[in-house]
């Protein structure tokens, strides 16, 4: 067995870290495109050059650690799904993915219905919907391609928890193109779960590192906080759980191309493990910091918010645990 990064992936990691150190805000996206980061998320067949689980895991971990809020995950999922359906890829353009619905925890097709090739209803928390060239939409059992400027489409934007712009998508008899059954798109959707989980893992790592630094620096009762056994043990427990999350992400990235039943077990196990650890870290990192961890101006806050957002994207730990226990496919 070899869990080391390949030379290509090590170079990718180095260049990505360099970019994330040098560029912020609006300058970041062009720099990432120029470095070929979006293309590394897709296979050659899909118009990219890598698309492996290892590349996806690596890239999103780095982005998560750096706290980047870009709608790169929906763009990746949508591009892969469009390619699989033989639809033209929108080269370099923003793509959105409309999955969550109001009124339901994580079910699909509750607030949205299909009549022929027209969609009516509502999707919520659609990252990057404003300015997207195309939107991938889930219904009860199918995937659809929707043009944002099609008749009957209203986009109502707002800021989201993780720093991105999201939107409600309100559809009234809006024409869309059916790409196929959700069950046939397990591959692109599994990549999305991997990306969200790796992003969460990056934020988890950053939050735990920051917390450890704080416990070493902050003094109370004449000693650094890390000298108090109760806090030290809690930190040790967190470190153990972070490795569990890292392994769950590794498992899924290594099984992205496995046969669907096995891949889906890893999709579910990854969401369950990372979701649980994300929640634990979000709670414990704030607690170990005390009040400062609750403030907007301290760096931990943004990490916590991104953890909470990643936790609920594409089904949370409870939802995937239930499907794992029942032996159901991850996406159907």
């Amino acid at each position: 067995m070899d869990f080391q990064l390949s030379d290509d992936h090590r170079m990718l990691q180095d260049s990505l870290r360099g970019i994330l150190t040098r560029h912020t805000g609006e300058a970041l996206w062009p720099a990432l495109v120029e470095a070929g980061v979006p293309a590394a998320l897709l296979t050659e067949d899909e118009g990219g050059f890598d698309g492996s689980g290892a590349a996806i895991a690596l890239i999103f971990q780095e982005l998560g650690r750096a706290g980047v809020a870009l709608p790169l995950i929906p763009a990746m999922i949508a591009a892969a799904a469009f390619a699989q359906a033989g639809q033209p890829a929108e080269d370099g353009a923003a793509l959105a993915f409309a999955d969550a619905e109001p009124g339901t925890r994580h079910d699909r097709g509750v607030a949205i219905s299909v009549q022929g090739d027209r969609l009516t209803g509502r999707k919520t928390m659609v990252a990057g919907a404003e300015g997207a060239a195309a939107i991938l939409v889930t219904t009860a059992d199918a995937l659809w391609r929707l043009a944002p400027d099609a008749p009957g489409v209203t986009i109502r934007p707002y800021p989201m928890l993780d720093g991105q712009r999201g939107a409600d998508l309100i559809l009234e008899d809006a024409p869309a193109t059916r790409l196929g059954a959700i069950a046939d798109f397990g591959g692109p959707l599994a990549r999305g779960v991997l990306a969200h989980s790796a992003l969460a893992l990056g934020a988890i790592t950053a939050a735990v590192d920051l917390t450890l630094d704080y416990l070493k620096q902050r003094k109370q009762f004449g000693q650094p906080l890390i000298a108090f056994q109760a806090l030290a043990h809690r930190m040790a427990d967190l470190a153990v759980e972070v490795e569990q999350a890292r392994s769950a992400v590794t498992n899924l990235s290594g099984h992205l191309d496995a046969e669907p039943a096995l891949r889906d077990r890893h999709v579910q196990a990854c969401k369950v493990t990372v979701g649980r650890v994300a929640r634990l870290v979000a709670e414990d990192a704030v607690q170990l910091h005390g009040g400062i961890g609750m403030t907007e101006e301290y760096a931990l806050g943004g990490m916590i918010r991104r953890l909470l957002a990643a936790e609920t994207a594409m089904g949370d730990a409870d939802w995937h645990l239930e499907r794992f226990a029942r032996g159901e496919p991850a996406f159907a």
Binding site: D99, A100, E101, P102, G103, T104, R105, H106, D107, V110, T124, M125, R156, Y158, P159, M160, L161, D162, G166, D168, K219, Q220, F221, F228, A230, L231, R279, E283, V286, Q287, G290, G291, G293, M294, T295, E296, E297, G301, I304, R305, L308, A309, T312, A313, G315, D316, D318, W319, L321, E322
Partner: protein
């Protein structure tokens, strides 16, 4: 043993319910339920209604204008108020400073300050924590130097809850650096309008700014505003903290959160039926409800001991830990019940998804209630207190 309320207590509960039904505006109750930030006028308005009924200071003896309630009556009032989503009584004047002045203040201080707390002339805030002294309160440095008839105060306080509304602050200040750290602290009442006082809001993760930093730059405070004796402030602070820890279990708040979660779970769809019918979710909900049932009785057992004059010991630490665990668990389950909808930015007043203010409030509440296990002596400190008492046997 009789676990039922007495006929008098039941009658009192009916009175409280009738009052809440008649006096609590549904719009205000909705804001409280969604954890929206209340305006100063809304909080003062609720205080005034309670004061008109003689119920603002349930914990004060009648000789000082309070209601003189038993611990059980206070529990009933707090639980019914929380379940009805009434605004919480702002604790700084009523629950914290009032009892300290009643026990340690001079007659002049009592006559001047206590009526002003009840009639709303003063809005008090608390100046305890400092950037270098959180749970380790004895390490505080904000200094008061006596010059004739005044103390001159210089230093910084932090986590000053609702300090932006306050005209008065009660502070722990260092008046001596000799001897044990605890022995050089005094309890001082400071006018926030004095020259040299600066208040800066601290924005929290849920977008609210309920806490503040307060700076004192050579602020002159009349010696008449010293409570008790110089360098004896630690004693008064500890007394205040035991009062702060009343209603520490938060049974009413947990019950209200449970009611809300059950309502959400009935409305959310999961596998074509209400989420409340989902076995996995129903089991999680049941577990926390069972925890709450036990904790509620633990709370009543301790209240009943207190009513019989037994001082609470480590029990209040136990209630702090279990009570905050239950509330935080309810908050986490509520977020999970909303699923993907709980990912909007919970900045209050922000434009959010249509009709989703309840989902938005679930995340805001989760973020804001992280404080429960941190403030008032963190849960780690409470565990140390329990372990220390167990070790002493």
């Amino acid at each position: 043993m009789d676990m039922r309320f007495t006929p008098d207590e039941l009658a009192f509960r009916d009175e409280v319910r009738a009052f809440l039904k008649a006096e609590l505006d549904p719009g205000l109750a909705r804001k409280v339920r969604l954890h929206d930030e209340l305006t100063k006028a809304e909080m003062e308005g609720w205080h005034a209604k309670l004061q008109a009924r003689g119920w603002l200071a349930g914990n004060w003896p009648t000789e000082f204008g309070g209601a003189g309630w038993t611990p059980i009556q206070r529990h009933i009032f707090e639980e019914e108020s929380a379940r009805a989503h009434a605004p919480r009584i702002v604790p700084f004047g009523i629950a914290m400073l009032g009892p300290v002045l009643q026990k340690f203040g001079s007659k002049e201080q009592q006559d001047h300050w206590l009526p002003r707390i009840l009639n709303g002339d003063d809005w008090w805030c608390q100046g305890y924590s400092e950037p270098g002294a959180g749970s380790d309160l004895a390490g505080l440095r904000c200094a008061a130097v006596r010059q004739g008839d005044h103390y001159v105060v210089t230093g910084q306080k932090t986590w000053t809850t609702l300090g932006q509304h306050a005209n008065m602050i009660f502070c722990l200040v260092r008046t001596s650096t000799e001897g044990k750290k605890q022995e050089g602290i005094s309890f001082l009442l400071i006018d926030m309008d004095s020259p040299g006082v600066t208040v800066r809001p601290i924005v929290l993760l849920d977008g609210t700014a309920e806490v503040n930093e307060v700076w004192f730059d050579e602020v002159r405070v009349p010696v008449a505003n010293l409570v008790g004796e110089e360098n004896q402030g630690w004693t008064y602070a500890k007394y205040l903290l035991t009062h702060e820890r009343t209603n520490i279990a938060g049974v009413g708040f947990a019950t209200a959160a449970l009611d809300n979660l059950q309502r959400v779970a009935r409305a959310q769809v999961h596998r074509g039926q209400p989420l409340s019918q989902d076995p996995l979710f129903a089991a999680q909900l049941a577990e926390v409800e069972i925890e709450l049932m036990a904790m509620s009785t633990t709370n009543l057992r301790m209240l009943s001991q207190a009513a019989q004059g037994q001082a609470p010991g480590i029990e209040s630490s136990m209630l702090k830990i279990k009570g905050t665990q239950i509330r935080q668990r309810l908050d986490a389950l509520t977020r999970r019940a909303y699923g993907g909808q709980a990912s909007a930015l919970p900045t209050l007043g922000n434009e959010g998804p249509d009709g989703a203010d309840e989902a938005l409030s679930a995340t805001a509440t989760w973020l804001n209630n992280r404080k429960l296990s941190i403030y008032g002596g963190s849960n780690e400190i409470q565990r140390s207190i329990i372990a220390g008492a167990l070790a002493k046997g």
